[in-house]
């Protein structure tokens, strides 16, 4: 049994007097214990909404979540709020992009870490703080004893993100969801945090869902990568397979449009034309069709299905980039 099995997860936002908007459209993916899975896509592709839906953190009103989120066989979407709260932070936890806005500014860092241990593991404050100190030490915060009584504004962005990771990993969860954990950080700090995450995940056997727009981050970290476009998974492949032979025109376009540090200079970038606002609804055809170089008639006749590929991945495309061209 998979650790996490997301089946046909859809999130539709509804506002009175407006057309319903499908942010996540029948997304399915699985995470095995100890595995690192990437969800990649640009803004508006539904990657963050997917993670919030899994964690049960979407607002109660104004949206409709359907499908199944099976965590060790239990459907998280059907749990009572109290039961979900017991699991959140203990079995599944999450780290967010901006550590300053996800930490409470008026509570000392030590208390914020200890809180999780008190809530989920019944520790008293004293014992919890002692453990919090060890946790801060484990995530590489210098002089953890002093940090316990300090407030988030007193430490730097990288240190805040470390504190957030300490909170998320305090109860040794089996699944950690990281939503753009390094986007707000500088590259040298990003390298520190990614190395730390990789090491912690290896040491504790925690499975990791990495949500990011940065293909470089995925390349070094994830076992399996799901590429999202317009709320649907358009390509799924093992890490090496995806980067060596991206078959979906969107994935292929993304990979050839990023300037790489090690690519020969002066080469023109292959930009994907248009923007996300050109998308057509999936009900009509492939959402990417208006921007796609490989578009064929079938693309505008209906949504292409997600089909398994010969290399063990999945692909949603009528006219994929051919194997020869796909080698970057």
């Amino acid at each position: 049994m998979s650790l996490l099995d997301v089946r046909d997860l859809s999130v539709v936002f509804q506002r009175r007097g407006e057309q319903p908007f499908t942010a996540v459209d029948k997304v399915s993916f699985t995470v095995e214990p100890g595995q690192t899975v990437g969800l990649v896509g640009e803004s508006g592709c539904g990657k963050s909404v997917t993670s919030l839906a899994i964690m049960g953190l979407l607002p109660k009103r104004g949206n409709k979540v359907s499908g199944e989120v099976l965590f060790e066989g239990t459907d998280l979407l059907k749990l009572r709020p109290d039961d979900m709260r017991d699991r959140r932070g203990r079995e599944i936890s999450m780290i967010f992009q901006d550590p300053l806005s996800s930490l409470n500014p008026v509570i000392p860092i030590g208390v914020q870490v200890a809180e999780v241990l008190e809530r989920h593991q019944g520790r008293d404050r004293r014992q919890a703080l002692r453990e919090a100190r060890d946790l801060l030490d484990a995530v590489g915060i210098p002089d953890p004893q002093r940090r316990l009584s300090e407030y988030p504004h007193q430490i730097s962005g990288g240190m805040r993100q470390r504190a957030l990771i300490a909170i998320a990993l305090a109860c040794k969860p089996r699944l950690l969801i990281a939503d753009e954990p390094t986007t707000a950080l500088d590259v040298t700090i990003q390298a520190q945090i990614l190395t730390l995450l990789k090491q912690l995940v290896d040491d504790t056997g925690t499975a990791l869902v990495m949500i990011t727009h940065d293909l470089g981050v995925v390349a070094g970290l994830c076992d399996t990568v799901n590429v999202l476009y317009g709320g649907r998974v358009v390509e799924r492949a093992r890490r090496h397979e995806l980067f060596a032979h991206a078959r979906h025109p969107y994935t292929h376009g993304l990979l050839s449009s990023v300037p790489r540090l090690d690519s020969p200079r002066g080469e023109r970038l292959h930009a994907i034309r248009g923007s996300v606002s050109d998308n057509i609804p999936w009900a009509v055809g492939c959402a990417f069709a208006p921007r796609c170089d490989n578009v064929v008639d079938a693309c505008l006749e209906g949504p292409p299905p997600l089909e398994p590929t010969a290399t063990g991945g999945d692909l949603r495309c009528n006219n994929p980039v051919s194997e020869e061209v796909a080698v970057l």
Binding site: D186, V187, Q192, L194, G216, A219, F243, D262, L269
Partner: protein, 366 residues
């Protein structure tokens, strides 16, 4: 790119220090933020100069200082033979037409209540270039065409465009005045990857057509390497290394550049699995209280007990135009100095701006 002649812009020992004020009745200056602390560089005509560095290194302040959007504390800015800092009033205003700026966030740098036409006309009017109606109209249309927007965009407002198109409007606004130098501060960092490529290609095309000179300021090393001819790397208010884009990538010589390069993720698992990371310890020290000597010595894995802590290295030509500010650049390149472990020093975001309360005890020390 285009013909490369003498320097269009020369910065000589530019300093931008911001005072930190404190006190109830009198604004007492209690210290300075040394945002830019002695930078000299020159940009040739038709060249793209890329300035990279992490947040807080002073790269944006340097770009703004060049245009005198913030007044430099000290130093000279020579633009096409004249010292810009000595210009006053009308002369300065006229000089501004020749150097324009593109900002990072197109949504906040475009007035939401102005139509595209009025945004573009504003600069023309200010510089007395809005003459006959037909002529002006033609100029606006040509500019829009150059940045890849339809003429119908003129009557629209910024919110009606996507992020990439808004950045195109920002570029058009700079371009309509026919400038010689464009300072672009993080022109693509607010855009999605697929849109980034469009804007970068556009900037290159415009340079080829019009012979523009660019100063591109960005934190993304890959973007800068792609677009720039010469790259300068900044750390804590100073330039630590400067070389042609290819040289810098082939052989980064300053320890900071090496670490920076090794930290940039490459979208290729084969590269990622093989490469060695130089992980820097800790954070960027506070620019209010920069370390003595070499600014980087507190985090440098190659730091030596002599010189590094007490003598600030000058930017010197090491090999063929490759300038490095490191006492031991040659020794590091030749492998005579090995990297060592660095103790993490805690950096406080509030350092130097006021007294820091001693932390209370939450639990007794064991």
């Amino acid at each position: 790119m285009t013909e490369q002649t003498g320097p269009l812009v020369e910065l000589r020992d530019i300093k931008v220090h911001f005072p930190i004020k404190s006190g109830l009745l009198f604004d007492r200056t209690v210290g300075y933020v040394y945002a830019v602390d002695g930078v000299s560089l020159s940009i040739r005509k038709g060249e793209t100069y890329g300035l990279v560095g992490e947040s807080g290194c002073g790269k944006s302040t340097l770009g703004r200082g060049l245009l005198r959007l913030v007044e430099p504390t000290d130093g000279e800015i020579i633009f096409d033979g004249t010292d810009v800092r000595s210009l006053k009033g009308e002369a300065m205003r006229q000089a501004r037409r020749r150097m324009q700026m593109i900002f990072q966030d197109p949504l906040s740098s475009l007035d939401p209540r102005q139509s595209v036409e009025s945004l573009l006309m504003e600069g023309l009017k200010a510089h007395g270039l809005a003459g006959e109606k037909d002529e002006t109209n033609r100029r606006l249309r040509e500019t829009l065409e150059a940045v890849g927007l339809p003429a119908s965009a003129l009557s629209k407002y910024p919110h009606e465009f996507s992020g990439g198109q808004r950045q195109r409007i920002g570029i058009a606004r700079a371009l309509v005045l026919n400038p010689e130098l464009i300072v672009a501060d993080e022109p693509v960092s607010a855009l999605d990857v697929s849109i980034q490529a469009q804007v970068l290609n556009l900037l290159e095309d415009l340079q080829n057509e019009r012979g523009l000179t660019y100063l591109i300021i960005a934190h993304d090393l890959a973007v800068v390497r792609h677009i720039a001819d010469t790259v300068g790397v900044m750390y804590l208010g100073g330039l630590v290394e400067e070389a042609s884009s290819d040289d810098l990538y082939r052989e980064p010589m300053h320890p900071y550049t090496r670490a920076l390069m090794s930290a940039v993720p490459v979208p290729d698992p084969l590269v990622e699995d093989r490469r060695e990371r130089i992980l820097l310890a800790g954070d960027l020290p506070s620019p209010t209280n920069p370390p003595s000597g070499c600014r980087f010595h507190t985090r440098c894995p190659w730091a030596q007990p002599t010189r590094c802590a007490d003598e600030r290295p000058a930017l010197r030509d090491v090999v063929g135009g490759h300038r490095v500010a490191c006492h031991f650049a040659e020794d590091i390149a030749a492998g005579r100095i090995r990297p060592h472990e660095v103790e993490v020093e805690l950096v406080r975001p509030t350092e130097g701006t006021g007294p820091v309360d001693p932390p209370g005890e939450l639990i007794p020390t064991p």
